[in-house]
Each structure stands twice: as structure tokens, then as C-alpha cells.
């Protein structure tokens, strides 16, 4: 009797997981986790910080742009397109809107994936690591699957 209940539970679990994770929908949710890693550096010289120069090691720390854009690539284009404020930039007196938080760039919402963003600060002694997870909402996905696979009249 117990094993039969276990079977039912297993079957229900399998159906739920398959319903919740199969097929695709039309929008992606984002889940952002941030961690701050600040190294404790000892007293440094005035001009530079400990770790900037080490014997035999040249270290460079990333200085990413606040807002970076994307462009079409290739050598055969007669015209190139930028991705943000497409197709052409607005005149300077119109003003401009920047996305200053990279995990919320709209092009990440196009497909489910994971991504990581790093930012170095305090002359490279601190690093901010952001992990973003873009995924389809499971409950809404399951409801959508029920509609499109069972309830909808196929026409």
C-alpha cells in the first residue's frame, strides 16, 4: 500500500516537473544575485596599491564602460547598425537614455540563459560579481502549456 502511494507521488512529481519545464513561452523573467567580494589589503604606498605590481606579473583591472553598445560586424557592410537606439541615434538636443545596469539590458530577455557580470572597483581590490538567471516563469509556463496543448482548438 505504501509503495502504491509512493508510485502516485512519483508520477505526480514527474508530471508536474515536465509540465513546468517543457516548451517555451513569450517572455523571460530575470533573477539577479549579487555578491560583493572585497579583499582586505594591507597598508599600501601612496602611489599605488599592494597587488598592482608584483615581480613578473603585470596585472590589469577591467574598467568597463558604464553603457556599452553593440554594432553589426563584418567587412562587407555598406551601412552598419547599432543595437541600442536603433536604427539611428537621436540628435544631441533630444537627449538620451542609458541602461546603466547591464543585467537589465533588454536583449538578455530574449532567451533563457545564465550570465555573469563583473565590476572591479577600489583600484582592483574589490570586485562585484553579479549572476543573472533569465528563465521562463514555471507556473505560467505550465498554464500556457495546458492551454496550447490541450484546451486550444487546433486551427
Amino acid at each position: 500500500m505504501k509503495i502504491r502511494t509512493l508510485y502516485h507521488a512519483v508520477a505526480a512529481l514527474a508530471v508536474c516537473t515536465i509540465l513546468a519545464t517543457s516548451a517555451s513561452a513569450d517572455d523571460v523573467e530575470v533573477d539577479v544575485h549579487e555578491t560583493n567580494v572585497e579583499e582586505t589589503a594591507p597598508e599600501a604606498a601612496v602611489d599605488n596599491y599592494v597587488g598592482d605590481y608584483a615581480p613578473g606579473i603585470q596585472r590589469g583591472y577591467g574598467q568597463p564602460d558604464l553603457f556599452y553598445n553593440f554594432y553589426t560586424q563584418g567587412g562587407a557592410n555598406r551601412v552598419n547598425a547599432q543595437m541600442y537606439l536603433s536604427p539611428i541615434p537621436v540628435p544631441p538636443n533630444v537627449g538620451h537614455t542609458f541602461y546603466t545596469y547591464q543585467p537589465f539590458y533588454p536583449h538578455h530577455m530574449l532567451y533563457p540563459h545564465k550570465d555573469r557580470f563583473h565590476h572591479q572597483y577600489d583600484c582592483g581590490r574589490g570586485m562585484n560579481r553579479t549572476r543573472a538567471l533569465y528563465y521562463y516563469p514555471p507556473a505560467r509556463q505550465a498554464a500556457s502549456n495546458v492551454y496550447w496543448n490541450f484546451l486550444r482548438i487546433p486551427r
Partner: protein, 125 residues
């Protein structure tokens, strides 16, 4: 009894493993990515027509997981599929804006979907 427990545990494991298949590009070694990159290096992302609203060919961003585009024209034999090679990248290129007269206008009676001057470019990864 022990066989049934083993079977149940196996079923649970299989269901969990099957439910965790994430959506990927289906290109584990990046071969299609390399092909698309190589093709896009010596082919333009645009066609010969400009978009009527902007005077330039218009790049329509599609997900980077998109593979193919469909064109429609008069007649069954003109409905063709092409791969989408081009993808947005970080480095800016020139020329940014094409001079006037470099592209054709949409005909008064369009006969092909490429004549509307909107062309797909995949978004960055």
C-alpha cells in the same frame, strides 16, 4: 520490495534529470557559431533596400538562438529560408550611416519581403 524501491528512486532521478534540461543553442562545440561568424565577415547584413521610415536598412534584433529567416514572394517557389549569420558585436564599424542613394526604395508594388528594408540581426550572447 527492494526492487520496487530501487525502481521508484530511479524514476524520481530520471524525472528530475529530464526536467533539468535547460534550453541551449544545441551547439556544444560552437561549430555553428564559428560558421556563422565566418559567413558574416564577408557578407552584408542588409539587402539592397532601405526602410521607408528611416532611409537606411533597418536591423531587426532577433534572439541569438534564432537560426533561420523566411522570405515570401509571389509564387510558392519564392518562399525561401536562409540562415541568419549576422550577430551584434562590441566593436563599432564604419560606415555608420550610408550616403543617400545607396539603396533602393521599396517598390510601389512590393513583390518580396526583402524589399521592405528590414533585415534580421541576432542579438549578442
Amino acid at each position: 520490495m527492494i526492487h520496487r524501491i530501487i525502481l521508484a528512486v530511479g524514476l524520481v532521478t530520471a524525472s528530475v534529470a529530464a526536467s533539468q534540461t535547460s534550453v541551449t543553442a544545441g551547439d556544444p562545440y560552437g561549430m555553428a557559431q564559428v560558421w556563422s561568424y565566418n559567413f558574416s565577415m564577408n557578407r552584408p547584413w542588409h539587402g539592397n533596400y532601405y526602410n521607408q521610415m528611416h532611409g537606411q536598412p533597418l536591423a531587426l534584433i532577433v534572439p541569438p538562438t534564432a537560426h533561420m529567416r523566411q522570405t515570401y514572394s509571389w509564387g510558392v517557389g519564392q518562399n525561401l529560408m536562409y540562415p541568419i549569420h549576422h550577430q551584434y558585436g562590441r566593436s563599432a564599424n564604419s560606415p555608420g550611416v550610408a550616403p543617400r542613394g545607396g539603396f533602393h526604395a521599396t517598390p510601389r508594388w512590393p513583390s518580396h519581403t526583402d524589399q521592405f528594408g528590414t533585415y534580421y540581426v541576432r542579438g549578442p550572447w
